[in-house]
Amino acid sequence: MEQLKTIGRELAMGSQGGAWAGQSKEFLDLVKSIGEARSKAEEDRIILLEIETLRRRIAEPDVPRRRMKDYIIRLVYAEMLGHDASFGYIHAVKMTHDDSLALKRTGYLAVTLFLSDDHDLIILIINTIQKDLRSDNYLIVCAALTAACKLINEETIPAVLPQVVDLLAHPKEAVRKKAVMALHRFYQRSPSSVSHLISNFRKKLCDNDPGVMGASLYPLFDFITEDVNSYKDLVTSFVSVLKQVAERKLPKTYDYHQMPAPFIQIKLLKILALLGSGDKQTSGHIYNVLSDIFRKCETSSNIGNAVLYECICCVSSIYPNAKLMDSAIEATSKFLKSDSHNLKYMGIDSLGRLIKINPDIAEEHQLAVIDCLEDPDDTLKRKTFELLYKMTKSSNVEVIVDRMIDYMISINDNHYKTEIASRCVALAEQFAPSNQWFIQTMNKVFEHAGDLVNVRVAHNLMRLISEGFGEDDEGADSQLRSSAVDSYLRILGEPKLPSLFLQVICWVLGEYGTADGKYAVSYIIGKLCDVTEAHLCNDTVKAYAISAIMKICAFEIAAGRKVEMLPECQSFIDELSASHSTDLQQRAYELQALLSLDSQAVGSVLPLDASCEDIEVDKELSFLNNFVQQSIEMGANPYLPESEQLGMSGVSNFRSPYQQEASSHTLRFEAYELPKPSSIPVIPQASVLTQTRDLVPVPGTTYYRENNLGSKLPTGPEASSADVGIKLRLDGVQKKWGKPTYSSSSSGATSAEKTTNGIGAHQDGIRSQSRDTVYDSRRQQPEVSAEKQRLAASLFSSSASKTEKKPTSGQRMPKGSDANAEKSSVARSVSPGNSEVKTAAPDLLDFGEPVPISAPTIDPFKELEGLIGPAQAVIDNSITTSGVQAPDLMATLYMDTPPSGSRSSSSGLVSEGVYSTDKGSHTAKPTPAVKKGPNLQDALGKDATVRQVGVTPTGNNPNLFRDLLG
């Protein structure tokens, strides 16, 4: 009787919108105290206390099942707040064994939240899942399938796979759907485990239930991504399904905000984009349905735009069609012109896709693009940089890379910094107008993101400086080198430099520091010693520094001059001789040894500017043959290649030549040796050479090679990759660099900022007006290649000084002291010779202060209400009108089950179902609008319940009672 009463109360509470039924007082207190906690520390204290209590209670014998359920939920809560509740996992696992659905679901919920798919306890659940998958109760099967999606890993897939496959034929559509999704998950875990089931998925595409059909699209999408060609036959099916969806042949319940099944449409469009990619014939099937959807898409709702965006993606992926391109361009420009940041973002993304097909369309939208670039919203800005990256050409590379670097300097997000730095580098390598610009750009990238960029970039830079670019213009090369040396000596004054950049600097100073005779030997050596002191540097930088010193000394000695050791240099050498790093020690000793050699020997050890010379390497080490022969005759063991030593093959590829060589003349006299720790056999090539050097006189070239290799790349194992993979992509580049171009100064970016500060004030007034003029002027010049230049001009224009500077900077070195004065004067008055574009310039760009588009802050929820209103109406309609009339074949397949009947019967059985009578406004009340917004009855009911359980929202969080949708 008592029990019945509690149930009665629970059910009553359930009818209050399902609020807080079935929770213990303790749980409510816990949540309440967490809600009132004023600091993270207080919250942690409460939770830790709670965890202690639970640890004690949960271990007590014979905890009643419902109490245990409460404990488990409290554990989930503790874990959600970031605390460890692993002691309770086993109890959650036990709860999955329970027979009742309520407890079983709680158990499954807890384990899916607690355990990752490689947890040891999973093995205890497999059996339960297997049993539950065979259950007669489809709800239990559903719960087990949901759990299987999370918990089953590659190893355990075979244990449940046959049952899940059987469930594909289950009479309940919910079960079929979940089974498809579970198999999709299995496919992601281990593609081979379900690849034989492809025909089942194809069959599910024709399932009677739209939900199951929709689910089958996920695995099919994955399969098609893997192998497009095997699924071309499905194109017509996909197209016809999409057509029927778009023509509203699906039950009304799949409508969302008046769009027919938009989520299914989106998935289908993704699939068609894959299938039609680069395939003219397949694309031909798709055109019709795409243009239908373009026509039907509701651009006023968010979901309509989502479908539209997917259409644009599809158009840009399939074989181009002029009419569809026009629709896509039109939709894109609508996005870009929208006030919503979200749509602008999608517009920028769409534009990035469409320019791949037709680069010219960017022209029309360049002003919108520049607006997005200037937007205070970081997300939009980054997306725009992505677009700029895609549309970079040699004509606009300078502006774009400058902007990117400015932005890179301004952000703290390391992940994005790395990305944008690597983009800058890629663009600079591909499109650099002059080598000087290239080096200066690289310097900036290194200076501000040095530790984030790939090591390869540094090697490319060194290679570029040493190899030069003009094949026969030796003068230009040496000019480049000395300008690099100049800039590095200047940069060394900066307080903090990334270690990768220091490595480059050391190497360049070592190779070319004294080459033009501008700087004294002692000055360069002094600077190199300073590097290691002034900057906190690691062994690698020290190694670069000492090798650089060694080279400079060698050049001096070879030239017959005497090298005087500076005291700080001597102490540096002494420090390294006592270093813990053997590499540094060796370099220090080598330097000391070198100093005592005569000029001829030194000259052949370290020849001047020979870093690009090819070095012949005797990979067979044939000069050792005599020695090896002798040793073997004296009874030494012959060398066994690693692969044979370990009984396996392919330890490291780069030594395979001698592995084969060695194995050809050795006998395998022992079947298996004891496996050795893998660290022993992996000896870097360089150190092999080092070891052998003591034993046999090595020709000078080899010695130099090792030395050079080491100084370039002290980290041994990477040596091979440096030699092979790191070629600067010079093939296409060199031609570009060959062109006569001006060299821009590094101070361009700063000048840009200055200029706009001066101009910003009177921008807004003439903004729109001047835009029109710019636009017109652009239209008048229709040549294709000019479009980028104009964009560049518009990007430039904010720094009108820069355009102005173009002709002059060639003559002047960047150091020129009057540069700033001139720039500022340009900024103040636009010179009379400037074109129309230039006058408009200041309005296009506001570098310094982003001008926020003045708009009153509108409550986003107001907008939301508008969205929800009509949707609700649709839902209600669909419920009241049972049975959808649709003449087509598809409609009969997708015939809705009589909804109102089943619904009313269920709520009649148990009056406190979720949609209990007073909530049943869906069916009963004719005016759906009443339901929305703060419902007085609901609010009162909830308030009463709140008082009942003693929870009052404090001033800490006054919003708690506001309806999420209201």
């Binding site: 460890d84 179902g913 708690l960």
Partner: protein, 148 residues
């Protein structure tokens, strides 16, 4: 694919988390910390998307609650925005004018609802009625059990 779902209050308190990709407990704490710093600070008129560690996080604010979903870089953001809304609408039907307190005290029920909408990081059901029918069936079944 959706990698995780986060519900955060305006104060940065966690209301619900669901992880569809593997994250250790330590990573989870870090992710929540990073994202709450990133998202809660954003002004209302800006994009509802944030690029984060090579992924994108789509968020939407309802009253004092932020619903966030982390997706791959090539997913459709607007679609995810509507999936969030779909979830909220169903919660609204389930709880009846849902408010934050409902989710605080009934977070496990919110999980059940979420499990009917998303599975393995994908949208499994876009029909509100189908979801509602399943959840009702489960409630009926659970209620019956207490009668026995």
């Amino acid at each position: 694919m959706i990698h995780f779902v986060l519900l955060l209050s305006r104060q940065g308190k966690v209301r619900l988390t669901k992880w569809y990709s593997p994250y250790s407990q330590k990573e989870r704490t870090k992710v929540i910390h990073e994202l709450s710093g990133l998202i809660l600070a954003r002004a209302p008129k800006l994009c509802n998307f944030v690029e984060w560690r090579g992924y994108k996080v789509v968020y939407r604010r309802y009253a004092s609650l932020y619903f966030c979903m982390c997706i791959d870089a090539d997913d459709n953001e607007l679609e995810i925005l509507e999936i969030i809304h779909h979830f909220v609408e169903i919660l609204d039907r389930y709880f009846g004018s849902v408010c934050e307190l409902d989710l605080i005290f009934n977070f496990h029920k919110a999980y059940y609802v979420l499990d009917e909408i998303l599975i393995a990081g994908e949208l499994q059901e876009s029909s509100k009625k189908t979801v509602a029918r399943l959840i009702t069936a489960q409630l009926v079944e659970t209620a019956l059990m207490f009668n026995l």
